[in-house]
Amino acid sequence: MMAMDPGDIHRARPEAVPGRGGEPDLDGLLVLVACGDESAFEAVYGQLAGAAYGLIRKVVRDPAQSEEVAQEVLLEVWRTASRFDPAKGSAATWVMTIAHRRAIDRVRSVTATAARDHLAAEPAPASDEVAEAVEASLDRERVRHCLDGLTELQRESITLAYYGGYSYRQVAGLLGATLSSIKTRIRDGLIRMRDCLGVSG
């Protein structure tokens, strides 16, 4: 199932420390950040702050709260950079995982008690609304294109879970589907996305 050609294996583990004079990639930058390099942090900020903020806005919605959460996330990136392990995934994934988690925590802690009752009644966010563009990006176009290649149900489940910040249990409730069908749809959908985007595992 995990088609992996030998070339991927060599690329799978990026060099932790960039070569002298070489343009450091994100993973390398994060290693420098872990050593307390503030200018490396600024470079990471330049590359990821927009995506972190955008993702948090998607989940949290409220601009002021989103900014607060984004600041917390970026500070956490600085503070915990030594915990980043390039062998476990890319730097962008590490940062976006923190951003998504913090966004969800914000949404759930503020509304933990009230929202549970609300949830079922709340209208689902439009599933095809991928991003309100500020700048056109190739990346965004490809993601949109690959999302379009999913079945309606796969797309809906993935966007509700990721952009809506709902747990798969809540997604199942919202869509009136069983837990195992949501698990399957999300996994199948992401695998299809992976192949479409040409992401190597």
């Binding site: 995990m2 992996m4 503030e38 942090f41 900020y45 702050a49 927009g50 995506a51 972190a52 903020y53 955008g54 806005r57 900014e67 600041q71 917390e72 970026l74 500070l75 600085w78 503070r79 030594s82 915990r83 476990k88 890319s90 962008a92 994934t93 976006m96 995982t97 988690r101 925590d105 802690s109 933990a112 008690t113 991928v130 991003a131 309100e132 500020v134 990006s137 990346d139 490809r142 993601v143 949109r144 990721y162 952009y163 747990s167 798969y168 249990r169 949501i182 698990k183 399957t184 999300i186 996994r187 199948d188 992401l190 695998i191 996305m193 992976r194 985007l197 992401v199 190597s200 595992g201």
Partner: protein, 254 residues
Amino acid sequence: MKLLRHDLHLLSGVYALDAIDSDLERDRYQRHLARCHNCSAEVRGLQEVTTRLAMATALQPPPAMHGKVLAAVRRTRQLPPAADSQPRRRPWWGWLGGRSRWLPRFALAAAMVGVGAAVVLGVILAGTQHRLDLAQAQNRAIARVLAAPDARVLTSSTSAGGTATVIVSPSERELIVTTAGLRPLPASKVYQAWLINPRRTRPAGLLPAPRGGKTQPLLTTGVSTGDKLGLTVEPAGGTAKPTTTPILVIPLRA
């Protein structure tokens, strides 16, 4: 068994999307990932896909954010690398080695054991006194909350099973939490209490390890109007911010 395994494999997608809200289920899957190489490779790939979903949402952050974050960075100390990723050091007795003969080394080691025992005993005694003082102070504080004329008792069930009982006194700005029947945690985890309000979430102490399914009262001070009490599962020692979904949130409104 087969069905169970099959079901676990299906979790890769929702795990990659961070859409599992049960700590139990997430922990179980993480343990599975540690053993299943194919699964962890699959999750890595799917996580890269979710990262692309994230990157596709990029917006221009508010211009002021840049300065605020950098200012915060300048006054924030970083975490040292995790202990388990540090290179293995010589054992602490390593320096005893070298060229000295066996007997002096033994004598030195024996002397060290003696000194060490004395130090340990002293620390234990001091610690016991300290704990007694603490316990007395805590008992007085608990009595104060219980005796407050505005003390109220709130009880709620938690999503980790069992119930939590809170006695809160708005005038004393203090509360006491006890629990019964919460899911037992491994030694690496702890239940942590939080004071939550829309502005910020503050750590409010760690629940003591349960005895007979019940926890000793935890006292929390500095409660303000509008606060809610939350409980989360955190790594042993607690964290500065909650890292998991609360198993309980109780509004404390007077």
